[in-house]
């Protein structure tokens, strides 16, 4: 005989058991800390909502990516060691920033020349919710039309969605999660994963190309008819917001976690 309900229940019990004992380190990258603390707050509230034990080690600062991408990876060495020391005691480290999570996971071991315990356990909040918690409900209600910003490192390093260049079965963890939000309409722009032109210090070293790319990207988001651009990287959103504001382009920006946690 088949007991579908029992199966669900069993899975849920198992999940609850694991979650109760899981300890999460919250990593709020430097620029989110200073510019978009509401994104950190939403992440914290959302993780608590799922019953997780969340800690925020206060000595954290930056993952080192700004220096690395600029060509000064060696200057990030101490930061990386600090990060590893600070976060290795947690079961998972969760960050509301795909690019920072990718940098930690894929670049930290090269910088220190040793395996980094914390790096291996660091995840972006989207993949954590999707792959580890496997959430099928989110608290947020967001009766708006949004355009998804598939940021490069989210797509091509972390695999949050299938890169448009590859012939693999299409998927999007971002759209999966947004699909759980009540009232939302989810769009994607034309050229759904073309770079917005931020690139960290690229935006100050090649300001003209960066601005041109940002302008095109914002206009493609606007063309979907969306009220908001949303994505897993506040850095891309910051860049596009700066460009949009300068040119008076009519669209708002919001981190995905703020939508998922709306109302908490």
């Amino acid at each position: 005989m088949d007991y579908p309900l029992l199966h669900v229940l069993h899975r849920d019990v198992e999940k609850q058991f694991c979650l109760r004992y899981m300890k999460i380190g919250l990593f709020v990258p430097c620029y989110v800390d200073a510019l978009y603390p509401e994104v950190g707050v939403a992440t914290y509230k959302l993780l608590r909502h799922y019953g997780l034990d969340v800690d925020y080690p206060e000595k954290q600062t930056c993952c080192g990516q700004p220096m690395g991408n600029a060509g000064f990876q060696t200057m990030a060495h101490q930061l990386v060691e600090n990060y590893d020391a600070l976060f290795q005691k947690y079961d998972y480290v969760v960050a509301p920033s795909a690019s920072c999570a990718a940098y930690v996971r894929f670049f930290h071991p090269d910088i220190t020349n040793h395996a980094c315990k914390a790096a291996a356990k660091t995840m972006d909040v989207v993949e954590f919710l999707h792959d580890v918690l496997k959430v099928d409900k989110v608290p947020g209600r967001f009766p708006h039309k949004v355009s998804v910003h598939n940021s490069c490192h989210g797509v091509r390093e972390l695999g949050l969605s299938s890169p448009s260049e590859r012939n693999i079965a299409p998927f999007s963890k971002i759209k999966d999660l947004l699909g759980l939000v009540e009232g939302i309409t989810v769009m994607e722009p034309e050229r759904p994963d073309e770079c917005c032109g931020f690139g960290g210090m690229f935006s100050v070293e090649e300001p003209d190309v960066s601005t041109r790319m940002g302008t095109e990207k914002v206009n493609r988001h606007i063309a979907t008819g969306a009220e908001y651009v949303t994505g897993p990287d506040s850095s891309c959103l910051m860049h596009m917001q700066g460009v949009a504001k300068r040119q008076g382009l009519p669209i708002k920006f919001i981190h995905i976690v703020e939508i998922l946690a709306a109302g908490l």
Binding site: V28, C30, D33, A34, L35, Y36, P37, G40, V41, Y44, K45, R48, V54, E58, K59, T61, C62, P66, G68, A70, G71, F72, Q73, T74, M75, Q78, L79, N82, C152, H153, R156, P163, S164, E165, R166, N167, R191, E194, C195, G197, F198, G199, G200, M201, F202, S203, V204, E205, E206, P207, D208, V209, T211, R212, G214, T215, H239, Q241, G242, V243
Partner: protein, 458 residues
Amino acid sequence: MSTKHSLAAEKFIQDSNRVTRHDQTFWSVRAKRDAQAHDLSEWEDLREAASQIKKHTVTHLADYLQKFEENATRNGVHVHWAKDAAEYNDIVMQILTEHQVHKVVKSKSMLTEECHLNEHLEKHGIEVVETDLGERILQMMKLAPSHIVMPAIHITREQVGHCFEEQIQSEKGNYDPTYLTRCARYHLRDNFMTAECGMTGANFGIAETGDVVVCTNEGNADMSTSVPKLHIVSMGLEKLIPNYEAMGVFHRLLARCGTGQATTVYTSHFRKPRPGGEMHIILVDNGRSSILGDEEHWQTLKCMRCGACMNTCPVYRRSGGYSYTYFIPGPIGINLGMLKDRNANYHNVSACTLCCSCDNVCPVKVDLSTQIYRWRQRLDSWGKANSMKKAMSKGMKLMFEHPALYGTALKMAPMANILPRWMTNVRMNAWAKGHEMPEFAKKSFHAQWKDLKKGGQK
């Protein structure tokens, strides 16, 4: 201290319509490539196979080259070895002199661009006629290619028309591409009939048989080699593949990646000289054997020059081929330029957002963006780092290594006076050129944490 690329890009971008045209042209090629890639269920297997075949071949290159030479020689082909551009140019000149050649018809070869062959031959009184339409247009206009597969795509039909009016007496004011292509056809046909030598590059060399494979859409390599009796092939060492089984893999990838076609129109396999003719293959090193020894960059030797990384590169599409200091632009050009001459070409290393799209289109999986990241790490030790970026990084190091200092910076009011300088560099005004400043939160996450924790534990 802006890079030459960023300065040239600034100029290029001033003509907004041109940028749009350039971007859309290459994006459409990328879109055609995507359609081809999604049409073949074994696409990713092909890429992986191609990458592994190239890794295998370049790490056994000495053996394969010897095998190739043996087989080609047995087929009656003369094989020459050139360690650098000078030796290569001399060998070509020597062959041409022996055959009393006055005019050479040439199909597109990036290697001859790399070695500046045309200038060398012209200096010695040889007439060199490029026969790929795009290359011929550029040659007549005295311009360099701006892309390795579509070299003249940045030239408008009106510009081509004006050039043809002046140089090959086309009808005044007729800018129809079909008409202009016809004019070039008749003009080039005359040259095919009178040249004494045809030169081609090589897309592939097959070690097992000694064959050279050349791919074109126009048939110009075939016209160049089926009328003149003398055929000279210029081939970079890395063009070798083991056998025809491998050739099947590369054939299916090359045109699909390069132009979004399932094949080039012509895929010609040269094994022996034609009746009564002579065939020479010049194997050119010009730095390639040293690249093999570079642990971080040896995989550039896998490249088969399809141009897909340029087409997908968002920076290339918006800055144009001439913004780069090396004759090969885009992601592969940034890397090859640095390997060739880092002092001349470090200017291109800034032309990358690290979006990694190039890594995903590359048919042989060259780790293009990782390599660009690595070059950036080395610039400082060569004194070529951007001083502004270095100062910013130093500032960040100081601040981020000291949580107390970072905490103070976060708390200081008004923070906007302290932090933006580190984070967005208002002082140099580069960010502010195209962006409004982000606004700093009144209370950072750090500052909110304790209250949040209290609330969250309830």
